[in-house]
């Protein structure tokens, strides 16, 4: 018998009614299963319902139809079951970096002192050492995202939702953050759902990729990424990577360009 998936989504859908009565279908029924410890990317253009899907999984919206099942138990509409990180770092400006990182622990009822003691080594291990007493505005974009990700990870949720976490970073910082994320993912052994619109990023990071399309938002395809781990940066120059990237582009509706590249 196959073990229960970490997270299952059945027929999850959402629509919004605007003030003039028009119905906007944000997400057509979506079903997917993710096994424990997998890194799964959702890729698609803006408006494809990625963020809606994440909000539903995180319990921040009630779905119109469908269920979210975590560890075989119904979890639709319950908050705090998954770690959710948005594109904005959303660090609280009146808290130090350390106090921002422990926010999740604090909300779980752990005393500040104990939470700080627990969190500090993580800051040093993951590149924020020496910055714990700084306020967020003193940090670079990449550092802020690190702090935001640590805040998401520390409350010990098994599932982490990352909504374009590196979308606002410059290309070099972004590449470094991707490697850092893979490192952290291997250390923590979390199940990751990762939203991006960057095909390179999706292929480099993921075990599986789901492609999504807009109007209405829906899942249109699935791709396994059998690249070996750990993945060095130069895996991106290999033929296997290029082939996967091409398949991924085809999934999201970018057919190979007309002309020369098409086999005759």
């Amino acid at each position: 018998m196959v073990s229960t998936p970490k997270i299952e989504i059945w027929n999850l859908s959402q629509h919004f009614v605007s003030s003039d009565g028009a119905v906007f279908e944000a997400l057509a029924p979506v079903s997917l299963k993710v096994a424990a410890g997998r890194f799964v990317s959702l890729i698609g253009p803006s408006g494809c319902g990625k963020s809606t899907l994440f909000n539903l999984i995180a319990g921040l919206q009630e779905p119109r139809t469908g269920d979210v099942i975590i560890d075989g138990r119904e979890a639709t509409g319950t908050i705090g079951r998954v770690g959710y990180m948005l594109q904005k770092d959303l660090l609280l400006p009146w808290r130090t970096v350390l106090d921002n990182v422990i926010l999740g622990l604090e909300l779980r009822g752990i005393a500040r002192g104990a939470a700080r003691e627990y969190a500090l080594p993580f800051l040093y291990k993951y590149g924020l050492g020496g910055f714990e007493a700084q306020y967020p505005r003193a940090l670079s974009g990449g550092m802020r995202q690190r702090a935001a990700l640590l805040r998401t990870l520390l409350p010990d949720c098994d599932i982490i939702l990352l909504d374009e976490p590196f979308g606002a970073l410059d290309a070099q910082t972004r590449a470094r953050m991707q490697e850092w994320l893979l490192q952290i993912w291997q250390d923590f052994g979390k199940t990751v759902l990762f939203v991006t619109h960057d095909v390179d990023e999706a292929v480099f990071l993921s075990d599986e990729i789901y492609a999504m399309s807009p109007r209405p938002g829906r899942v249109t395809g699935h791709l396994d990424v059998p690249l070996a781990r750990p993945r060095p940066r130069d895996v991106a120059f290999g033929p296997e990577f290029a082939r996967l990237k091409e398949r991924c582009l085809a999934l999201i509706g970018h057919d190979a360009p007309h002309g020369a590249l098409q086999p005759v």
Partner: protein, 295 residues
């Protein structure tokens, strides 16, 4: 054949399009010749000079007043004159009720300020808890804000008596609404994404309130402290004008009614000093509070 035609077509296009791409055509607009100008430089006096000019202005103004009263360019009966005012100040401080009056006004102001600001901030924050409650109360708030609160002062004196409480109440009426509306604006400005973040971490409503709404709204509440101290002082003075046993407002009114113009000026002078001292104090407080809350 077709090759030469296309070539010709090409050459036609060349004539028409190339100059546009390579060299911009000369402008049709006739511009007047450019006047040579330098970037204007603002002159900045050093601080000593600035203070010197300011002192000179003050001394000059007061001196002119003194002379004008001496030579009857202005009527010293209505305007009094600096020397008489200085003399009266000595009398007021040594023989009059200077300490009692100042303390009375200060007390009324600080109490009105403290109660009005605290209650107003709490009221503004409370609107976070329920949209329905906030929406029901809002029109009343707007109404109350648009009333000139000082018009209610005689009523407040009737209800609360001629003592300190009525002055505190007028100061409260003035400051409370300012704090309420500003804090409420702060509550409405809480980033919904921050709220989503808190809930995604499993926060309760209470936790969102104490750990997000209060700290992010406090700067708004703090920013009105300086406005409120001025309003509370106005409330206290108006209350004393209407009916009071003590206070600088009463001293001004009494002196005016008895044509002791020098005493009016003395009381105004003391009042201004008090006002400036409180303003400076509150500015300090504001800075300290802001440092604690916002980084």
């Amino acid at each position: 054949m077709s090759g030469s035609a296309s070539l010709k077509l090409g050459s036609v296009e060349l004539v028409a399009a190339r100059p546009a791409a390579d060299v911009m055509p000369a402008p049709k607009l006739k511009l007047p010749p450019l006047r040579e100008r330098k970037l204007p430089v603002r002159r900045v006096w050093p601080g000593r000079v600035l203070v010197g000019v300011q002192i000179a202005l003050l001394v000059g103004g007061v001196g002119l007043w003194e002379l004008g009263a001496d030579y009857h360019w202005i009527d010293p009966f209505f305007w009094s004159q600096p020397s008489a005012i200085a003399e009266m100040l000595g009398v007021f401080v040594t023989q009059g009720d200077a300490a009692i009056d100042t303390w009375y006004t200060l007390q009324a102001t600080l109490l009105g300020f403290a109660f009005g600001t605290t209650l107003g901030t709490m009221l503004g924050l409370s609107f976070w808890w329920s949209h329905n409650y906030a929406n029901v109360v809002q029109p009343y708030l707007v109404c109350f804000e648009s009333i000139p609160k000082l018009a209610l002062a005689p009523l407040i004196i009737l209800v609360f008596g001629v003592g300190l409480i009525s002055k505190v109440a007028i100061g409260m009426a003035l400051t409370l609404i300012v704090s309420t509306l500003t804090t409420y604006a702060g509550v409405k400005a809480v980033d919904p994404d921050h709220e989503r973040l808190m809930y995604s971490l499993g926060a309760s409503r209470r936790q969102v309130f104490t750990k997000l709404v209060v700290p992010s709204t406090l700067p708004w509440g703090i920013s009105v402290l300086r406005i409120n101290i001025g309003l509370a002082l106005t409330g206290a003075i108006v209350g004393e004008f209407i009916s009071s046993q003590h206070g600088l407002g009463r001293a001004i009114l009494y002196a005016g009614q008895t044509y002791e113009i020098a005493l009016v000026w003395v009381a105004v002078l003391v009042l201004s000093t008090l006002s400036i001292a409180m303003y400076v104090g509150v500015s300090r407080l504001e800075k300290i509070l802001m440092k604690g809350v916002v980084r």
